[in-house]
């Protein structure tokens, strides 16, 4: 069981597991319970087959040996996936995952347990297991619970649960048809589809209940093309907290056109020369640079423990003054969007770097208490099976003062990076990588030959200092990115304007 580094992978990637790192903090001010009193017939409670009295009974067990904080995270997820290969939609899968995670926080310690059996005896047993971390006097459970209803950052007119399987099938067939009609060199088309409908109920020891219903969907078109006995493969995908209607003809055309263009250009692509080069990051998916070079390093658990290279850099200049970097949970429909985080705290737009100065880390409840600041609503978990960690949501750089044309024209000999597959960072050293699947050489200020399969490696703080230009064309990528940390994968978004980093180590060849 090898330990993982922090990494981001395109959806469908595999995450390796690692022991969880979760610590806690001294007692903190308890947030005031807001919202309306929870009614016994609340639809979310009915969904999980529980009522306020049951919650109170389980919470009493969870805090029976004392707790600074405790919470119950109920989750029910129904997901559907489909796959088209060789012209046949021949594989369908439906999955139901349901359970409750129970957490007891005492001083610097966290006890965690989960059960997939939502009967009272099973939940009480799990509560006793999590509570065993504590050794003090019992803390009475809240007299009442007050709920905050689901927000509206991703409400669907037709929830995925109500969409029939036959309504999904034409999306896959249409993509195959589009690709076949547009490019004769394509020898194989595979189209993958997945959607999910997730209900979440979070009840905590302060009497707060947070409810959320979180949709997610993804369409992935993969191609193999052949030319003169050589094969190349690539693809494109669309993803977000969207419903069926979002996947309209224009978007299907877009994803198929991208998949074709990205694949066909590989026949002409070569490797750049090895060594240090200026790297232009194209607007959009290049946000992977932010995710790896700074985003993980600003997750406050690493900083609280002193293991991040950014641990001593708060309120210091770390980038040129035109650089502002944001992590945002409030963008409707984005993969990283949340109405509330997985501790029930409201999400927000967190400015990490303002005018080149490091202004904030990303906090969950525990790290916020450690630093004496409000939570940034960044407490996330993969599912009820996992404890909360501070995580990114949608990470992007705001517009800079330059134009894309100015930036490319300024480069004598370098590369421009356009599409990516994955990245990784080593938190302490600050070294990070990302893998370019498509890019171009820049020669004498002009975009020339295509390049492919290049790993870029750099050091986070050093690369930020080397951001010499940023354009006014910032945009979010529409692809399905998944971030991995300590064995947990969560959906994220990322974005970027066109940016020039004056020198990075480019994985090229000597030939």
């Amino acid at each position: 069981m090898p330990w993982s580094r922090r990494q981001v992978l395109a959806a469908g990637g595999v995450l390796v597991t690692a022991p969880s790192f979760l610590a806690c903090a001294p007692k903190q001010a308890q947030p005031q319970a807001l919202g309306s009193a929870l009614l016994p017939n609340d639809p979310f409670l009915s969904w999980f087959g529980i009522d306020p009295a049951t919650l109170r009974t389980v919470m009493a067990e969870l805090t029976s040996r004392g707790a600074d904080h405790a919470d119950l995270y109920f989750q029910h997820t129904r997901s559907t996936s489909l796959r088209l290969e060789d012209g046949i939609i021949g594989e369908a899968s439906a999955r139901v995952e349901q359970g409750v995670g129970l957490r007891c926080v005492v001083g610097d310690q966290v006890g965690y347990a989960f059960t997939e059996d939502l009967s009272l005896p099973a939940m009480l047993q799990a509560a006793r297991t999590a509570a065993a971390i504590a050794t003090g006097a019992s803390r009475p459970p809240p007299e009442t619970f007050a709920s905050t209803g689901p927000g509206d950052r991703y409400s669907l007119t037709l929830p995925w649960e109500e969409v029939g399987i036959a309504q999904r099938l034409p999306l896959l067939s249409r993509c195959e048809e589009l690709v076949r009609s547009k490019e004769a060199a394509v020898s194989k088309v595979s189209v993958s589809w997945s959607d999910s409908d997730e209900r979440v109920l979070i009840a905590d020891s302060e009497g707060r209940i947070s409810l959320d219903r979180r949709p997610m969907s993804r369409l992935w078109v993969s191609l193999v093309a052949e030319r003169e006995g050589v094969s190349q493969s690539h693809g494109s995908n669309l993803a977000g907290r969207h419903g069926l209607e979002w996947y309209d003809e224009a978007r299907l055309q877009q994803v198929c056109d991208e998949a074709i263009a990205r694949t066909m250009v590989l026949f002409e692509a070569r490797r750049p020369p090895a060594g240090e080069l200026p790297v232009v990051l194209a607007a959009g998916a290049s946000g992977i640079l932010l995710h790896e070079a700074i985003g993980h390093g600003l997750e406050a658990d690493f900083n609280r423990k002193g293991t991040s290279i950014y641990s001593d850099k708060l309120n210091q200049p770390i980038a040129p003054d035109f650089v502002t970097i944001v992590d945002d949970g409030t963008q409707p429909g984005e993969r990283g969007a949340l109405n509330v985080d997985d501790e029930g705290n409201p999400t927000e737009r967190t400015v990490l770097v303002q005018g080149g100065v490091l202004r904030s880390y990303l906090h969950d409840r525990i790290s916020a208490a450690h630093y004496g600041v409000p939570s940034t609503g960044s407490g996330r978990r993969e599912s009820y099976k996992h404890p909360v960690l501070p995580r990114m949501r949608s990470t992007y750089m705001e517009n800079g003062p330059h134009s894309r044309e100015e930036i490319i024209a300024s480069v004598k000999h370098g590369i421009i990076a356009e599409t990516f597959t994955n990245g990784q960072v080593q938190i302490g050293a600050g070294d990070y990588t990302f893998y370019i699947k498509n890019g171009w050489l820049i020669e004498d200020g002009k975009v020339t030959a295509p390049i492919k399969d290049v790993n870029i490696i750099g050091n986070g703080p050093e690369s930020l200092r080397r951001v010499t230009m940023a354009a006014n064309d910032s945009k979010l990528d529409s692809g399905g990115w998944t971030c991995g940390k300590d064995g947990q994968g969560v959906p994220v978004s990322q974005g970027m304007p066109t940016v020039l980093v004056s020198a990075m180590t480019v994985g090229g060849t000597r030939g």
């Binding site: 690692a18 290969e85 046949i88 021949g90 423990k305 994955n422 060849t509």
Partner: protein, 433 residues
């Protein structure tokens, strides 16, 4: 659990499935971490799931649930059949042939150790503290965490055409991670070891000491030079590059045109120094099994011999599409035939090169074999280890890389399901300063 699986099969065939395959699993896992001298996290869980595959009039679907109430299982079976009926017929989809179930080895693979479920939290905490003992108080220490992860799992599988089998497994892993301070950053080191039996765990202090050594080895590392050179890849990370070579060697990739192995079966492609077999019947190995996920009896599968790929991983579906016989759809334990010299001797034999002690990011293209990976390690000069290097990439093509495999070490990494020794590659392009 067998009864639950039988219920699912009965419900599926009752709903109209011509064939069905059910798998029921239950796992209990405990994770405990000690950071510095303080207990940090205790996590304990029991999870359960049922997976049901159905074949209906030449159509195929799967369903999975964590809700194992009999009513829910019966509902799931009906849903699976309805799901399949909504799809198009696929002639390659068929329940595995029962002849592939026959002849299962009658061996005790020793995959379960009764002492592991009996561990107490105090036992786990003691293991973690013993691992951290060599680290605490050391100069430059910023943080150290040692973690213990153990569990027990039981899985049963049965099919409507006669398959029935089960596996019981235990595992115990102990890990340490260290962060030190140096002028440029906060280098980390880690070590993790374990297996199905408690007796496989090395002395905890060895794990902590190795993590500390690994972090110290990174102190003062700098970007190395760009050039074409010899790479010595340490056993503990050599399995990762081997996995990139073998991951496209399966029916799905080959049939879908996404494998550089297509058309190369039995053709010389890599160095004859590389001999790899898939070995499912080894005792006390994490990947060992008597049958695979389709119920196919487990047997040794030669992968690379005589410089050529000898077999593909082939499940029923892709074997039918390729007109070949199924082997197995997934890897068990991959075992590389060791050479005769240890890591020190391999390094001593290199005039100029880089010892790779860890990878960082990167990827490879299964269709072309092109790869580019981040790496860290030490320079090698005249057979001696030199200064630590980082922020470097190695770039090339996997077939060309393994064609340039000059030597295999005698030191297979003993933890995990890949037994790969250190590997020496010649003529590799690196990029750094």
């Amino acid at each position: 659990m067998m009864a639950l699986g039988a219920l699912a099969l009965e419900a599926a065939t009752g709903a109209g499935a011509s064939g069905a395959f059910a798998g029921v699993g239950r796992t209990r896992q405990v994770d405990l971490a000690v950071r510095g001298e303080a207990l940090e996290t205790v996590s304990e869980s029991t999870s359960q799931s049922l997976v049901l595959e159905v074949w209906v009039d030449g159509r195929y679907a799967t369903t999975r649930t964590t809700d194992l109430r009999p009513d829910e299982v019966a509902r799931l079976a009906r849903e699976a059949v309805a799901l399949a009926r909504a799809l198009q017929p696929d002639p390659s989809r068929a329940i595995p042939d029962p002849s592939l179930f026959a002849g299962r080895a009658e061996l005790d693979l020793e995959l379960a150790d009764a002492s592991i479920p009996a561990l107490s939290h105090a036992d786990r905490e003691a293991l973690c503290r013993a691992a951290s003992a060599p680290i605490l108080g050391q100069a430059g220490l910023i943080s150290t965490t040692s973690a213990c992860s153990d569990g027990e799992g039981l899985s049963v599988q049965l099919s409507s055409n006669g398959f029935s089998g089960s596996h019981r497994r235990t595992w115990l892993w102990l890990s340490s991670e260290v962060t030190l301070q140096d002028a440029a950053g906060r280098p980390e080191g880690w070590m993790s070891a374990g297996g199905p039996h408690r007796s496989q765990l090395p002395a905890p202090a060895e794990i902590g000491a190795e993590a500390l050594k690994r972090a110290r080895d990174r102190l003062g590392s700098r970007k190395g030079p760009s050039g074409r050179t010899t790479l010595v890849v340490e056993a503990r990370v050599a399995g990762q590059i081997l996995s990139r070579l073998l991951s496209p060697a399966n029916g799905a990739n080959v049939q879908q045109g996404r494998s550089f192995w297509a058309g190369r079966l039995d053709q010389p492609a890599v160095s004859p120094a590389l001999v790899v077999r898939d070995e499912p019947l080894l005792a006390r190995m994490p990947g060992s099994r008597l049958f695979d996920g389709e119920g196919i009896r487990a047997a040794t599968l030669p992968l690379i011999e005589g410089g050529a790929l000898r077999n593909l991983y082939l499940d029923t579906t892709y074997a039918r599409r390729l007109g070949m016989a199924p082997t197995t759809g997934s890897a068990s334990n991959r075992v590389v035939q060791p050479g005769s010299r240890d890591l020190a001797a391999l390094v001593a034999g290199v005039e100029e090169g880089v010892l790779v002690s860890s990878w960082l990011g990167g990827n490879s293209d299964p269709t072309s074999g092109d790869f580019s990976l981040g790496m860290r390690g030490n320079l090698i000069r005249k057979g001696q280890l030199g200064e630590p290097v980082s922020e470097m990439n190695v770039t090339g093509n996997l077939l060309a890389l393994f064609a340039g495999l000059a030597e295999v070490g005698s030191d297979p990494w003993p933890w995990g399901s890949t037994r790969c020794p250190s590997l020496v590659f010649e003529g590799v392009d690196t990029s750094g300063a």
